[in-house]
Symmetry: C2
Subunit: 392 residues, 2 copies
């Protein structure tokens, strides 16, 4: 892991979650950082989303305070004041203006934040801030809800004799849908990048990565991707910016795949590739129809190479094609070829599903050259258990 | 039950299903009947769907042969010939032209029909045809797949001194999505109705009833609604036609609700009513977003009055509104009022979900006067079990 310079981290349990799991993260840049973000497209937007969105893009962000276990969504005017207050408390501890602090929350909808606990938590976190890996890991853990593990990705790029370090961390698990999800993702870098460039990059990287993750099509109230670049390194020339953009996008792609792989109750990470359609939009529509089909997702859980469900999901995606235009592969198995069932070993294809946690579906059409890739997971007993028994 | 005159029925096991469950139904009208139908909008359409669609509307339909356990979908040219052959065999037994016979299939995708068994089955069914209730019940059972019970609805209307009898039967269970579903539904009547009128009625009744059922959003390859009116009664004047249309629509609504209530693994029938939006289309979009959310469906299974999931599903339906425009009721419980959580007893609302198999959700907006109603069911362990272990 390549932690960027001049960032410090803390993560701890302040008492939002009923368990002893950590639930408050504080991330501080010692230098004013360029900041940018993209947020949920849901009409119902949590207070911290509205507050943080207002503050970005900006060129002098100092910190990020995240609480997990409570989304501070659908909490009306009092919830808005709580979000504002979280930033004020952190700003007070760090000696900066409140509008230099970004706020995120994730968890249960419709409950007020326990502000006394959060105030004490931010106070303690500010005292614990450190730049070592352990402190970073504590912060990356404190943003999780039903995730089973932290999601972290890191890159290092060299330019003009100096190194630029980038590290991202994220949480996912539930409500992973179109246009972002109950997903928080942060990418920190120690390069100098204009905040407007960062804002364009955030939009584009989200579109190419997080927006290609489909767990259940339920967009959340709190989705946020935030990029911070604190300028500890030298300003980047155009070529350096390109490399920087590619590194940020690669980190986002890593985190997006990790989110799909660790979705609630998932036993398979499914990569759905669609090729050969006239437009990207059509390719994406087919991929999403397949990814969202509970019949496809349960078949994968059941290790059933059920091409009929996949082909029929493609059939209702709203894309014009005839059966003969479509072929389908599952891993190396050709299941369906130009409109008719192919010969394959049901047993071997089922074994491929049983023995691999990561599996590939490829729907190829002969109607064009555009492609799309979407990541999803299977639908399991554990998904039902977690969501029938857990109040989000 | 009011069986229409001059129809005869048979249902039996011919060997398509590995179990001993019945899998072949034959319905015959002794008089040439006006026939109409509407079919799946999936790009992947089973052979029997394409064949039957070609033959409708028509004024001289004599029979209907339905097999269950095999969808005859994705079977290419040989599958087409099998569908044609099914009609030929039935026509031969009944002494009519093949194009007077309609064919439907439902079940596993991508496998050839066992035509020898089907030929013997149609032969036997033709010998068993009878107009009594038991024979009708045998036919209504023979079209089922993973349904736990037959779906039947009946009406009688009086006009100009004579009685008109209408009876519908259907199968549902899996792949219940937009624009019809793996759903076969048949409504038989002994009135005289022009086939073009019947065709318009089929389209409108499907839109108002079956197309409002959302189990999983996966449109099937085989959905069909077929109406037959055999003219045993007197021609209907305009006023009588209106009453006839209302009776057919009411039967379709009964069958649609039955399909949602008996969806695979369902433990709740959920009626989602959306009111107060500027257009029907927007109301329908909100209802469908809520109906399709696995998070909403698992919460209902878990008896969790989780209004946050419902409100946030409405939020991504692509309809413009502010939180304050929306209120939500679950049965008699007001959960959310003009943008803020309402006070209600979590315990009582949970008990309502636990103690009622049929539950109501009402999302009311203050942005217009248009409404929509959609029926769905919850997402249960049993749904996952059935679909992970059953090859459709």
């Amino acid at each position: 892991m390549h932690l960027p310079n001049h960032f410090r981290f803390a993560g701890l349990h302040c008492g939002i979650k009923p368990s002893t799991k950590s639930d408050l993260a504080l991330v501080v840049s010692d230098l004013p950082a360029a900041g940018a973000g993209v947020f949920t497209q849901n009409r119902v937007r949590a207070a911290p989303v509205r507050l943080t969105e207002q503050r970005l893009p900006a060129s002098d962000i100092r910190g990020l305070v995240v609480c997990s276990g409570n989304a501070n969504a659908c909490t009306g005017e009092p919830g808005w004041r709580d979000a504002v207050r979280m930033a004020e408390i952190a700003a007070d501890k760090l000696g900066c203006r409140p509008d230099q602090i970004l706020v995120c929350s994730t968890g249960v909808i419709g409950q007020r934040l326990p502000m006394e606990k959060i105030e004490a938590g931010i106070d303690l976190a500010a005292k614990n801030l450190a730049s070592d890996r352990q402190s970073f890991a504590a912060a990356a853990s404190a943003i999780l809800t039903t995730d089973t593990r932290a999601k972290i990705s890191s890159r290092i790029i060299s330019f003009a004799g100096s190194e630029i370090r980038l590290t991202g961390f994220a949480k996912g698990a539930a409500m992973i849908g179109p246009n972002m999800a109950t997903m928080l993702a942060f990418v920190l870098a120690d390069s100098a990048v204009p905040c407007q460039h960062l804002q364009n990059l955030a939009r584009q990287a989200a579109q190419e990565t997080f927006n290609c993750v489909r767990v259940e099509g339920h967009t959340s109230t709190n989705d946020s991707l935030i990029l911070l670049a604190n300028g500890a390194g030298p300003p980047l020339p155009n070529e350096g910016l390109k490399e920087f953009d590619a590194a940020v996008t690669a980190i986002c792609a890593d985190l997006a795949r990790e989110i799909a792989a660790d979705a609630e109750g998932a036993s398979h990470l499914v990569t759905i590739r669609v090729t050969g359609l006239p437009s990207k939009e059509e390719a994406r529509r087919v991929a999403i129809a397949v990814a969202d089909s509970p019949l496809v997702k349960t078949a994968i859980f059941g290790a059933d190479p059920n091409w009929g469900r996949i082909v029929s999901a493609a059939g209702y995606a709203g894309v014009d094609f005839e059966e003969k235009n479509l072929s389908l592969r599952l891993g190396d198995f050709e299941l369906y070829k130009t409109g008719t069932p192919a010969r394959f070993s049901q047993e071997d294809a089922s074994a491929y599903l049983k023995n691999n946690r990561e599996i590939d579906l490829h729907l190829s059409f002969d109607l064009g050259t555009e492609t799309a890739t979407v990541w999803t997971c299977d639908l399991t007993y554990e998904y039902v258990r977690l969501n029938a028994e857990y109040t989000t």
